[in-house]
């Protein structure tokens, strides 16, 4: 199970650059980052899955907290989370395969959002595993292209919003 860090930063390309730069420079074993908007247009939330066997989440947090553009680092390690990924999958689809693809999409609660002369675009959302599995099943039709948003996450049940400016509050 990955250990999720939710990092709220200022919404700018420069801030993203600073975070990515730091992770690369410190050779911290992070291989994926989702960049999400939040309720505040001034903020971005980065979701970073960390494998605790490879990296100490506290060290990553301590490094991130040195950046002025970082407003809060929340360690969601043990919290119950809703995690949703989303993908658009363009599949090679002569008309005789439409029914089969539609049935598969139905099974994954996915939707067909574009019908072209030779292709369909399938939109699938759900857990990371579910999106992985759906893409894998579509492979046999011939996947032309996949674009994936990356996981979004939120803590279940908790009534308060994720602190977006913990650092300013603590200072």
């Amino acid at each position: 199970m990955p250990h999720w860090l939710a990092v709220t930063i200022e919404n700018s390309v420069e801030s993203l650059n600073r975070v990515f730069h730091l992770l690369r420079r410190r050779h911290l074993p992070v291989d994926t980052i989702s960049v999400c908007r939040t309720e505040d247009p001034q903020d971005l939330r980065l979701l970073i899955p960390v494998d605790p066997r490879q990296a100490d989440p506290d060290r990553i947090r301590a490094n991130l907290e040195k950046l002025l553009c970082v407003k809060a680092v929340e360690d969601w390690g043990e919290r119950p989370l809703v995690i949703r990924d989303m993908a658009l999958v363009k599949v090679r689809a002569p008309s005789e395969t439409w029914v089969e693809i539609a049935q598969l999409a139905e099974f994954y609660r996915a939707r067909i959002v574009d019908v072209g002369p030779e292709t369909l675009i399938v939109e699938v959302t759900g857990s990371i595993d579910k999106v992985d599995s759906c893409i894998a099943r579509l492979q046999r039709f011939g996947v032309v292209e996949v674009t994936r948003a990356g996981p979004m996450a939120m803590i279940r049940g908790q009534a308060e919003a994720t602190p977006a400016d913990r650092i300013a509050e603590a200072a």
Partner: protein, 585 residues
């Protein structure tokens, strides 16, 4: 020592008034620097920074020291900061001016030195278009500064400068950079000046160690049999020397320091084991490796200290005191982490400390000390570098000099053969190992401390990397004493080639100029020393010259090696005291 031409009462920050005034950004930046108490700026002007220099013309209370290369400017700023504890400031123009700072910024980042670099930038309407002398300075320096600012609007300029000063010195000190486009510098607007302290950026304050953590640390100390204090540069930044001494004396704990920590504990104290690590003393390295408790104070378990990390001090528990939470568990896992300013943490810990029984431990250490003192043999013909350095120490110690040291064999010999007793008197490039650091650093140190004798111990290779700082020193009539330990080799590289590359000396011989005549040519005094009996008179002669810099070129044994030595990536059991001779515990 005679007062120098730069002697000046320290500029106190001007009385802080909240006020609004209309002016051009360049003048507002100068106002902000005055409010920060800046007394000296090291730099070189250029196209993009012309407005700053135009404004500087109106601020005669800030001295500007013109360097001949921007790398010298930032090393001077570092030397100033290391000698005084106050941030050093440098100015450069855009493009090549700014890129020449990169080495110094990296050096300051590695050694946690507070430096504020202010760079000109091409006008905002040219930025991104490969304009003449444009460089992506923010991108280039992002990983070698604590933070950097590109000021896109005049309104942000004063805030950026004040925030830069706060960040440079807050927490773990380090370099910062403010990039100022020319059109922004020339724009006129109304500026609001406030207390510079109001610009402290919101940062997480790690909670000070709680009673429980301090109690666990005290228990570890009380229960230890073979404790050791391992003290680094953080102790100097923090001013923790008195507390370290109090802890050592209260609990009878031996103290070793890193290269950066030299001076944090007096080496003439019976509890001192001097420096540890690759070229540290045998007894310091044995002591830390056989210890059962390491109390690390502002030190980061650098590879030059630990050698092979997995085999380093295998039986020791670790109490790690550091102001930077990102240092905890980075290289060595801490059993107790005490995050905070070293001085404050030690003050809180001291009353809880109960002395352990270290009698047997001290007998063991005394045995190592007796068996493995630092040594060399000086004959009648060739000058041994260790002898030259020891003589420099003996003949200057009464002046309590500030010593800047370059990088290489002479650096390690100076670390070994000086007796370091005072914080901020040993200034050297520790983390980055920047050859060429020490001569400009000596200039900066002398500006920061005009009341003290400043000595530079340099190598013949490293002297030639930033020789032009001597011209600046002459211009300001700084009475710096430069001692070149001249072995006509890149000595440390040659030593490694001798020991680990089968004596294949590849690109290490230096066809040197006559350094004494070179010094005379730029207006400094030059003395050349070739025989052992000339060393003492030359040092005395150098000390007598107080109206300009002196370069003493000391020709030493070209193939002398620096021992003890733990080869890179190896352990204390591989520690050589002479070629092929290992120390045995």
């Amino acid at each position: 020592m005679e007062a120098t031409t730069i002697a000046q009462t320290q500029v106190a920050p001007r009385t802080i008034r909240r006020e609004r005034r209309r002016m051009k950004t360049a003048w507002a930046v100068m106002e902000a620097l005055v409010r920060e108490g800046v007394e000296v700026i090291f730099g070189v002007p250029g196209g993009a920074s012309l407005p700053l220099y135009d404004a500087l013309y109106d601020y005669p209370q800030i001295r500007h020291v013109l360097v001949r290369h921007e790398q010298c400017a930032i090393h001077m700023a570092e030397g100033y900061a290391r000698a005084t504890g106050r941030p050093g400031v440098c100015f450069t123009t855009s493009g090549p001016g700014a890129t020449n700072l990169v080495t110094g910024l990296t050096d300051a980042m590695m050694d946690s030195t507070p430096v504020v670099a202010i760079t000109g930038q091409v006008p905002t309407f040219f930025m991104g278009g490969d304009a003449f002398q444009e460089a992506d300075v923010i991108g280039l320096t992002m990983s070698v500064t604590k933070h950097n600012w590109l000021v896109r609007t005049p309104a942000k300029a004063v805030e950026a400068v004040h925030t830069a000063f706060r960040l440079a010195t807050d927490g773990r000190p380090g370099p910062v950079l403010v990039d100022l486009p020319r059109d922004v510098l020339l724009a006129e607007t109304e500026f609001a000046f406030e207390d510079p302290q109001a610009f402290r950026p919101a940062r997480p304050r790690p909670s000070f160690p709680d009673e429980e953590a301090l109690r666990r640390a005290a228990d570890l100390i009380a229960g230890s049999q073979r404790p050791i204090l391992y003290v680094g540069g953080g102790a100097i930044h923090s001013g923790a020397a008195p507390e370290i001494r109090a802890l050592a004396e209260k609990a009878r704990i031996p103290v070793t320091t890193t290269l950066m920590g030299l001076g944090a504990f007096p080496e003439d104290h019976p509890y001192s084991l001097k420096m540890l690590g690759m070229h540290g003393t045998v007894y310091a390295n044995f002591a830390i490796n056989f210890s059962d408790l390491i109390i690390a104070v502002g030190a980061r378990f650098d590879d030059r200290v630990t050698g092979k990390l997995s085999a380093f001090a295998p039986h020791a528990k670790v109490i790690h005191i550091d102001i930077d939470p990102a240092e905890i568990n980075k290289n060595r896992k801490a059993d107790v982490a005490l995050i905070g300013d070293a001085k404050q943490v030690l003050r809180a810990l001291l009353p809880m400390v109960r002395p352990p029984d270290t009698e047997a431990w001290w007998r063991q250490i005394q045995d190592w000390k007796a068996r493995y003192p630092l040594r060399y043999r000086q004959g009648d013909d060739v000058i041994k570098p260790q002898f030259a350095i020891q003589m420099i120490y003996e003949l200057t110690k009464e002046y309590r000099p500030i010593v800047t040291i370059d990088v290489g064999q002479h650096q390690m010999w100076a670390a070994q053969f000086f007796t370091w007793t005072e914080p901020r008197t040993c200034i050297t490039s520790g983390g980055l190992g920047t050859m060429g650091f020490s001569l400009p650093a000596a200039v900066g140190a002398q500006f920061g401390r005009p009341d003290r004798l400043v000595i530079n111990i340099n190598g013949d290779g490293s002297f030639q990397m930033t020789f032009q700082a001597l011209i600046t020193a002459v211009e300001w009539r700084l009475p710096i004493k430069v001692f070149i330990i001249n072995n006509q080799y890149l000595g440390m590289v040659r030593q490694w080639q001798e020991l680990f590359y089968n004596r294949r000396y590849s690109a290490v011989y230096l066809a040197n100029p006559d350094f004494a005549r070179l010094a005379e040519a730029v207006g400094a005094a030059g003395i050349r020393v070739e025989r052992p009996d000339q060393v003492e008179p030359a040092i005395r002669q150098a000390l007598a010259i107080t109206d300009r810099p002196v370069v003493v070129d000391i020709l030493v044994d070209p193939e002398e090696n620096c021992f003890p030595m733990i080869p890179s990536g190896m352990t204390v059991f591989d520690m050589m005291v002479a070629p092929g001779v290992k120390a045995t515990p």
